[in-house]
Structures are given as structure tokens and as C-alpha cells.
Symmetry: C2
Subunit: 146 residues, 2 copies
DNA sequence: CCTTGACCTGGAGCCGGCTCCAACCCCTGG
DNA sequence: CCAGGGGTTGGAGCCGGCTCCAGGTCAAGG
């Protein structure tokens, strides 16, 4: 266990990032890291705190649906060092827009789901009362199918 | 084209739902429909407006990440008719929670992304000024990796 | 009559993102 | 000395959700 001078084993990084060791090696193969991982005697990977930070960013980008190739590109730019900030900015802005679109879509889906939840709650509470609690979820018909 | 008395071809349903004809047949095989699709001479599918409404619900459930097996279950309950509303309600409530969790996660991811966008904007505008625009995105360190 | 186009079927293929396997290495403690 | 635990590798497998293919049927129009 290379704990001296903040070197971390793959298992420790897995714990800290929530990724599996499989996934960590996979990400490395996929070129998602900003720099080659150091190796200890016997070829074991030795990560630095820096790597963990980067991986945490990766986790968040993944969680927000950024595909691996895009993360790879971002990693590549980051690895290149200063000078390409506009490229990184563009990439992030694009991703921000897809996240906003996701949020919008998810929000509208939630409207429908909540509408239906209310419908069923009413059916169960009031015998099966009040014919449709008016409130077509944002644009589009309530589509009371199902 | 069976346009009389509101019968729709698979192609028309594809247009109206945004799903491909492939996907429509696939969903049918997967048991996502609430009732068997009627067939015209030659075995061609004939959909009713009702089916389109249900499929639009499916699209929204998919868009919000409900897996096919869950939709199948919901379809099964809906097909059974009245009497199982509590089952449907439970299913929808569970899904609502996963959607809320997604929204939460996505929102937090967005915080990080916007933070980084701001960082790069500042670098590009002000030469590369103001050392880190303070504002750790909700809990957790800003992790300025990358 | 023949083409065109929309439809049918069963089954195969693809893509993204992991996830696991076999076989091996190495360090540590008992 | 030897067992166990945690590494290493290349490559295979899996899962969800489509997506497509080959080969066929049918109806309408030129």
C-alpha cells in the first residue's frame, strides 16, 4: 500500500471515487485520464490526489450524461496545458446546454408523472371522484391513457 | 392506408409519436402495449388514437429513464382495468422518486459545469485574472482539476 | 403487367458502458 | 514456506435499447 507521500492504490481510488477498480482501468484504457498513471514496483498503479480530483470530475460529467469520447476530448485538452481554454470552454458550454435540455425534459416528464399520481390518489381516496383534476401538464394534452 | 374511422398505420404512428417503426414493433414484442394491436387484411397493424396516446406516455416514461420492464409492468396493470390503481400508484410514485433523484443529481452536476464555465470565461476575458471565483458548487470541494 | 412503397416476420447486429474471467505477480503475516 | 489479499494483463461477456437485414406480402398507379 503506497500510502507515503500521498500515493494511492487503485483500490483506494475506487473507494474515494465510487468507481470500481474495473472501471478505473477501463477509463484509463479509454484515455480519460489527464496524464499517465505512475507505476510502483511490480507495475502497480499509483495515483495522486490530483488524479482523484480529476476522476471525481469525470464521475460528475458521466452522471450528467457526457459520453466517454467527450470526456476523453476534455481530458486531452486539459492534458495539453494552458492555451486551449477556449476549446474547453466550448466543450463545457455545449455540455451545459445538453444538461439544461435534460433538465427541461425531465421536468416536463415529472409534470406528467405527478399528474397521474394525483389522478390515482383521487381514485383511491374519493371512491373514484372528481372527473380529472384539471391541469394539463405544460403544453400538450394530458393524455389520460393508462 | 386505413384512414377511415381513425385507424392508423404503423408509419403514421411513428410520425405521431416520434418513435421509429422498428421501435414500435420492438415495443410491441416487449409487451409494452396495453392491448393487442388490431390487424388489417395482409396482417398490417392498425392503431387507434388510444394507442398513440399510450405510446406518448411511454415516450415520456422512457425519456425520464423508466426501464422497459417497468413500463411493461405498468402496461400490464393498465390493461387489467380498474381495481389495481394502488399498484399503478406505487409504481408511479417510485418512478417519481427516481426522477427527483435524477433532477437533483443533474442540478448538482450543472453547478460544477457552470462553475467551470465561469472559470474559463474569466481566464479568457481577464487575461487569466481573479484566482478562482469563489463558490464551491453546493457541498463538496470545487475540485478545480482540469 | 410491373414497379414502387409501405408493410410483415424472425433473427442478427450494434453501441455504450461497463463487468468479469483466467492466469499471473508480488508482498505480508502466521 | 506458504496462503491470502490485492495488484497486473488481454480479452470475452453482458445488458439495455434499439436498429437493421433478408426475404416475403400486398395495393395502387403508370
Amino acid at each position: 500500500m503506497p500510502s507515503d507521500t500521498d500515493g494511492l492504490s487503485i483500490g483506494q481510488v475506487a473507494e474515494r471515487t465510487g468507481l470500481s477498480v474495473h472501471t478505473l482501468r477501463f477509463y484509463e484504457r479509454e484515455g480519460l485520464l489527464t496524464r499517465p498513471v505512475r507505476r510502483a514496483a511490480g507495475g502497480r498503479r499509483v495515483y495522486a490526489e490530483q488524479d482523484v480530483e480529476w476522476l471525481r470530475v469525470c464521475v460528475i460529467l458521466r452522471a450528467s450524461g457526457m459520453p466517454l469520447p467527450a470526456i476523453r476530448e476534455y481530458a486531452r485538452l486539459s492534458a495539453e496545458g494552458p492555451g486551449n481554454e477556449s476549446g474547453r470552454l466550448e466543450l463545457l458550454r455545449r455540455h451545459r446546454e445538453t444538461v439544461n435540455a435534460q433538465l427541461e425534459l425531465l421536468g416536463r416528464s415529472l409534470d406528467l408523472i405527478e399528474f397521474k399520481v394525483r389522478v390515482y390518489e383521487d381514485i383511491l381516496d374519493h371512491g373514484h371522484g372528481c372527473a380529472l383534476p384539471a391541469e394539463p401538464p405544460r403544453q400538450e394534452s394530458p393524455a389520460p391513457a393508462g
